[in-house]
C-alpha cells in the first residue's frame, strides 16, 4: 500500500490524532498525537490491510530550535512490503510518551536506549534503566546542548591536544 493510502486510512480512523503527512520525501512520514500513539500503532499492526508486523527502528531526534524532541518510529510490514515513518513531538523540558512495548517487544530495548541518550521517559515501560551508559551517568549525550562532565568516577574526560603532548 502506498504511504498516501496508509495516511488516508489513519485519517479516517483517527481524524483528530494524525496530521502533518509528508509524502514527497525519501521516507514518507506522518505525525501522531503523543496521547494516541499506542492506539494508532496497535491499529497499524492488527489491521489486515496494513499489518505492520515489525518495528524496524525507534529513535530520537533533538530539535532545540523548535524546542521539541521527536521520537521516530520506523515500521515495516513483511507481508505487504510497505514501510511508514511515524513521528511524535514531545516538549524538550519534560518528554513523556507511552511505551510501545505492548505492541512490539523490540521497543523494550530501543526505548531504553532513547531514555538513556535523550532522556525521554516511556510511561508504563517494564524496565526503564540506562542501557549503554553507566547507571550513574549525568545527562543525556545525544541532546544537542549536552555538556560533558569534567570527570567520571574520578577519571578525567579531558585530554590535552595530541600535538601539545608530542611537544612536551
Amino acid at each position: 500500500m502506498e504511504a498516501k493510502e496508509i495516511y488516508a486510512r489513519l485519517k479516517k480512523q483517527f481524524p483528530e490524532k494524525v496530521s502533518g503527512f509528508q509524502g514527497e520525501v525519501f521516507d514518507p512520514n506522518l505525525h501522531v498525537d503523543p496521547q494516541a500513539i499506542v492506539e494508532v500503532c496497535r491499529y497499524l499492526r492488527d489491521n489486515p490491510d496494513l499489518r505492520f508486523e515489525t518495528l524496524s527502528d525507534l529513535t530520537g531526534l533533538d530539535l532545540p530550535k523548535e524546542n521539541k524532541i521527536q521520537v521516530v518510529y520506523h515500521l515495516f510490514s513483511y507481508s505487504h512490503r510497505h514501510p511508514i515513518v511515524i513521528k511524535v513531538d514531545l516538549p524538550r523540558e519534560d518528554p513523556h510518551v507511552s511505551t510501545m512495548e505492548g505492541v512490539w517487544k523490540a521497543a523494550n530495548w530501543m526505548e531504553r536506549e532513547v531514555f538513556d541518550l535523550f532522556g525521554v521517559v516511556f510511561e508504563g515501560h517494564s524496565d526503564l534503566r540506562r542501557i549503554l551508559l553507566p547507571e550513574d551517568w549525568v545527562g543525556h549525550p545525544l541532546r544537542k546542548d549536552y555538556v560533558e562532565e569534567e570527570e567520571y568516577d574520578g577519571i578525567s574526560t579531558q585530554r590535552a591536544p595530541l600535538v601539545e603532548k608530542l611537544l612536551r
Binding site: F26, D27, A106, I131, L142
Partner: protein, 380 residues
C-alpha cells in the same frame, strides 16, 4: 524418627544462585555480561548487561564531516566493517543525489561478499569453539586469513577497511587481485565441503544444537530479529533481494532458509547451517561480479565539502548480521544532524532474556554463538 528426618530436610535447603558471566568471558564474543540466575544447571533467567563497548559513534557522527565519518563507521561493527561503510555511504548518496560509479558498485559488492564470508567464518568457527570443538576454529581462521590478505590487497587494511567512500570506492580492484580472488574461490568452495564433514554433520555437534533455543517466526517479528537469524526461522527475507540496492538485482543467488532438518524449525542448528549455506551463495555472487565488472572509474566525482540538502533518509543494507538500518538526518551543513545505526545484534540481544529461561547454562553459550551477536555492534 520422623522428627529427625524433618529437621534434616530443613537443614538441607536449596536456593537459586546468581552468577555474573562476563564481561571478559571468552565465549561472549566481545565484552558482554550476563547476570544468570540458576537453579543448579538450569537457568531461571539470563539478563544481558550491555554497554561495555559503547564508543558514542552516533554522537561522533554529528561532530565530523560526511567524508570524515566513514572511518568511524568501520568501528561500529569491526567484524563486518564493509557493510557499515556501505550503509552510511548509501544514506549520504541518497541525501546528496550522488550517482555511484558502476564499477564502484561492483567493487563494493565484491568487497562486501568477501567480508560476509570472513564474518561468517568467524561466526561458525567460534561457534565450534564455544561448545568445545577447537579444531574447526583454526580451520576457519586459516581461510579468513586469506580473505584478510585479499582485503589488504584491495584497500590496505585487514580489519577496519574505510574502503567504501561516498560515490564509489577508495581504490579500484586490479585484474591481479581479481585473479587471486578467483583462486581463493576455487580453493574455498571445496573447503566448505570439508567444513561440513568436519563440523556441520558431526553427530556430537548436531545433537548439541538441534532443538536448542528455538525462535519462532512470530517472536522474530516481535523482537525485530533480522538476517540469518530470521531466515533460520524459515522466513525467506533478504534485503539484497527484497528491498534491492546496489547491483544485487542483476545477480543470481539463492536465499538459504532454515528447514528444521535436524530438529525443530528455528533452532540453533538452523541458525548455524544457514550461515554455512550463505557462504556458498556469496561465492556464487563473487564469481558473477568478477565476470560482469565493467570498465570505468571506481568513484564518482563528489565535492570535497560534501553538503547534502536538508532531509532525512532511512536505508537498509543486508549486513552479515542482517538488516542494518541507517537513519541519517541532514540540515544542509557540512556535518550530519543525526546519524542512527540500527543493528541486528542489538535486537537479537534483547531476545536472549526471553529465550534463555529454562535452558541449561551451557546452552546459553550455544544460544549466544548461534545468534552471532557482536559486542561492538550492540553498543556502538
Amino acid at each position: 524418627m520422623s522428627e529427625a528426618v524433618h529437621a534434616e530436610s530443613e537443614a538441607f535447603h536449596t536456593e537459586d544462585m546468581t552468577i555474573s558471566m562476563g564481561p571478559q568471558h571468552p565465549s561472549t564474543h566481545g565484552v558482554l555480561r550476563f547476570i544468570v540466575k540458576t537453579d543448579g544447571e538450569v537457568m531461571r533467567e539470563a539478563i544481558p548487561d550491555v554497554g561495555y563497548l559503547h564508543r558514542s559513534i552516533e554522537k561522533i557522527g554529528e561532530k565530523v564531516t560526511w567524508h570524515g565519518y566513514v572511518p568511524y563507521t568501520d568501528r561500529a561493527d569491526y567484524l563486518a566493517a564493509m557493510f557499515t561503510n556501505q550503509g552510511f555511504c548509501m544514506a549520504a548518496e541518497k541525501l546528496g543525489g550522488v550517482e555511484v560509479a558502476r564499477r564502484g558498485e561492483f567493487c563494493r559488492v565484491i568487497a562486501c561478499e568477501l567480508n560476509r564470508i570472513a564474518s561468517h567464518l568467524i561466526s561458525v568457527g567460534t561457534f565450534g569453539q564455544d561448545i568445545g570443538a577447537v579444531t574447526p576454529f583454526l580451520h576457519a581462521l586459516r581461510e579468513r586469513e586469506t580473505i584478510n590478505n585479499l582485503m589488504e590487497e584491495i584497500c590496505g587494511a585487514r580489519l577496519t577497511y574505510n574502503y567504501i567512500r561516498i560515490g564509489g570506492v577508495g581504490y579500484d580492484i586490479t585484474p591481479e587481485t581479481c585473479g587471486r580472488i578467483t583462486q581463493f574461490l576455487d580453493h574455498f568452495e571445496s573447503i566448505v565441503d570439508e567444513y561440513n564433514r568436519l563440523l556441520s554433520y558431526n553427530k556430537i555437534f548436531v545433537e548439541r544444537l538441534a532443538n536448542v533455543a528455538t525462535i519462532t517466526k512470530e517472536d522474530a517479528f516481535q523482537y525485530n530479529i533480522v538476517g540469518p537469524n530470521l531466515r533460520a526461522c524459515g522466513f525467506k527475507w533478504d534485503i539484497r533481494r527484497d528491498i534491492p540496492y546496489s547491483v544485487y538485482p542483476e545477480l543470481e543467488f539463492d536465499i538459504p532458509v532454515g528447514t528444521g532438518e535436524k530438529g525443530t524449525l528455528g533452532d540453533s542448528y538452523d541458525r548455524y547451517i544457514v550461515r554455512i549455506r550463505e557462504m556458498e551463495e556469496s561465492c556464487k555472487i563473487l564469481r558473477q561480479c568478477l565476470q560482469m565488472m565493467p570498465k570505468g572509474p571506481a568513484i564518482a566525482k563528489v565535492a570535497r565539502k560534501f553538503k547534502p540538502p536538508v532531509g532525512e533518509v532511512y536505508v537498509r543494507v543486508e549486513s552479515s548480521r542482517g538488516d542494518m538500518g541507517f537513519y541519517v538526518v541532514s540540515d544542509g551543513s557540512e556535518y550530519a544532524y543525526r546519524v542512527r545505526i540500527r543493528t541486528g545484534s542489538f535486537t537479537a540481544m534483547s531476545l536472549i532474556d526471553k529465550i534463555s529461561r529454562g535452558l541449561m547454562v551451557a546452552d546459553l553459550i550455544a544460544l549466544i554463538a548461534s545468534l552471532d551477536v557482536d559486542a561492538p555492534e550492540i553498543d556502538r
